[in-house]
Symmetry: C2
Subunit: 323 residues, 2 copies
């Protein structure tokens, strides 16, 4: 498909959904000839971007992320906001898992005229998924979306990357803090601005309230993710739509506080800077490790170093002087 940058740009800023979708496809393309076109488009939309509230949502599989996003997203859409939902990893519920189940659960939101749902980009080189998600966020903002929800699975390393991508980061959990904490990286509690105990309904409600208390006790010992903001635990029922508007109010309060303290803009600047250096680093590694000389000697050096036959410094010296 041929891409016309002026046409895509006009479509995006005029809030045309198919232009936005096509532009994201261009951003996601791994074809080399698309890269400079994508960059041209990004540069054009940049002045129109940055005006949304960027919210990250994480949680272990089964924490009910898609049900929560459906309920939370519908709440925002009904308030008149335009909401884009992006996923960062292929295992996120909006793209992975049971497709039929997810379709059913996110059905309402996916049909709402104010919502735009985009599954995770397929893997590409150079930390490409995160780059593509960030750039997709900019396109959505230029297309007038007020809130961007970025979903990720709370396992592995993606949480720190999401933290560097969003203004507000929310961890969705189930009842039984202790059990769940066992399966979760603890560091995540110091990355988030709120912990929401989901499925606080029916028989589960007393346990959810107890869990909330337990999380608040642990949070008491931890550093907050955002200086000047106290991370707390909340409960909600995505099924019965209880606690959803309260969470939105917490986020609005967070936005108000951090904008007043300039923390909001400061964080975005730092995020941009970190992103720049992380992409430089990705490029350096990619360019180095794809060299055929490096590819041919590295396995032998790595083995010798692991087995204690060669010092690390000697291996590095050899690597940089043979390639």
């Amino acid at each position: 498909a041929a891409f016309s940058i002026p046409d895509l740009y006009n479509g995006i800023v005029q809030r045309d959904r198919s232009s936005l979708a096509r532009a994201i496809t261009l951003i996601e393309s791994n074809a080399e000839q698309h890269f400079s076109l994508a960059q041209e488009l990004l540069q054009k939309v940049l002045p129109k971007s940055g005006k949304s509230l960027r919210i990250g949502i994480t949680g272990v599989p089964g924490a009910g992320k898609s049900t929560f996003i459906e309920a939370f997203g519908m709440h925002l859409c009904n308030l008149g906001f335009r909401v884009a939902v992006l996923a960062v990893d292929p295992s996120s519920s909006i793209s992975g898992g049971s497709i039929l189940g997810d379709k059913t659960r996110m059905e309402q939101l996916s049909r709402h005229p104010n919502a735009f749902i985009r599954p995770s980009p397929s893997e590409g080189k150079l930390g490409g998924v995160h780059r593509k998600t960030r750039e997709t966020m900019l396109l959505c903002e230029a297309s007038g979306f007020d809130v961007i929800l970025v979903e990720t699975v709370g396992v592995g390393q993606s949480e720190a990357i999401i933290r560097d991508m969003v203004d507000f980061f929310l961890l969705l959990v189930l009842t039984g803090a202790g059990d769940e904490l066992q399966g979760m990286k603890k560091g995540i509690m110091e990355l988030v601005d709120a912990i929401v105990v989901n499925k606080a309904d029916g028989d589960n409600k007393p346990l959810a309230l107890k869990t909330k208390k337990e999380y608040n006790q642990i949070l008491h010992f931890l550093h907050p993710a955002t200086s000047g903001w106290r991370t707390k635990a909340y409960t909600c029922s995505s099924l019965y739509l209880e606690g959803i508007s309260e969470i939105w109010n917490v986020i609005l309060e967070f936005e108000k506080n951090t904008k007043a303290s300039r923390m909001f803009n400061e964080r975005r600047k730092i995020q941009n800077k970190k992103w720049l250096y992380s992409m430089i680093s990705d490029q350096l590694h990619y360019r180095f490790f794809q060299q055929s000389e490096v590819k041919s000697v590295l396995p032998r050096l790595e083995r010798a170093v692991m087995d204690g036959e060669k010092s690390v410094s000697a291996a590095v010296f050899e690597l940089f002087n043979e390639s």
Copy 2:
């Protein structure tokens, strides 16, 4: 000074302290002509290295690290072990802080014939301090030291680096878990194999026992740093030498368990591999950012990216195509 590698090697393996000290000076040298000599020496000693128990000790300033190391080191020396004490950062107590105070406190150990104390190397390029400490560790091992104590201050990023350098990692704390946790990165509790509440003596003892209990409660929720090993809290009095031999027994039990499960050797292999890739990465960054073309355009690009005037991808593209 001229360095003779065969002489240094012979001196090291014959446990001559001044040869060891001179070899460390060679490793620490930032002079380019010393680098290949140092690598030649390292390659020679490598088969003789690796036989010690490497123990990392961290804690916030004031936790009593030098007093603990004095007491713990003396205990090991009196058992007949040869003990080397290295510091990783200039602010560690054996090199920074009040020099007079530290000398007094570590006086006994520093005069013991089984002990060797080496302060932190001064800063060099390329994560040089950590490289130098690792390589110094290898030299000490080749010189027959049975236990290497690596000291660092429990703030900043050095803990993760020490974790990747040692077999057993110990966190020294004071009473009042809550208060102290406030000033400490929480992640550190998931990096260590034991938490030792120091200064459990006199009026402070009941509080120390309470603190131990509090840490054990928190540890219950966390992942252990070493799979198959349960990280627990202990108390000790470095002043009255109480609990010191118990801590050594814990470490011996750890060694026995992890050697039986092969975790011990597996971790060392992985440490070597990580070290290799981290040095490659250091080299790549160093070589890139020292280029004059990069130096001249980077500040402008960084500013434009932070202010949202230029997309990160465009900045990176420009950087790699202008340099």
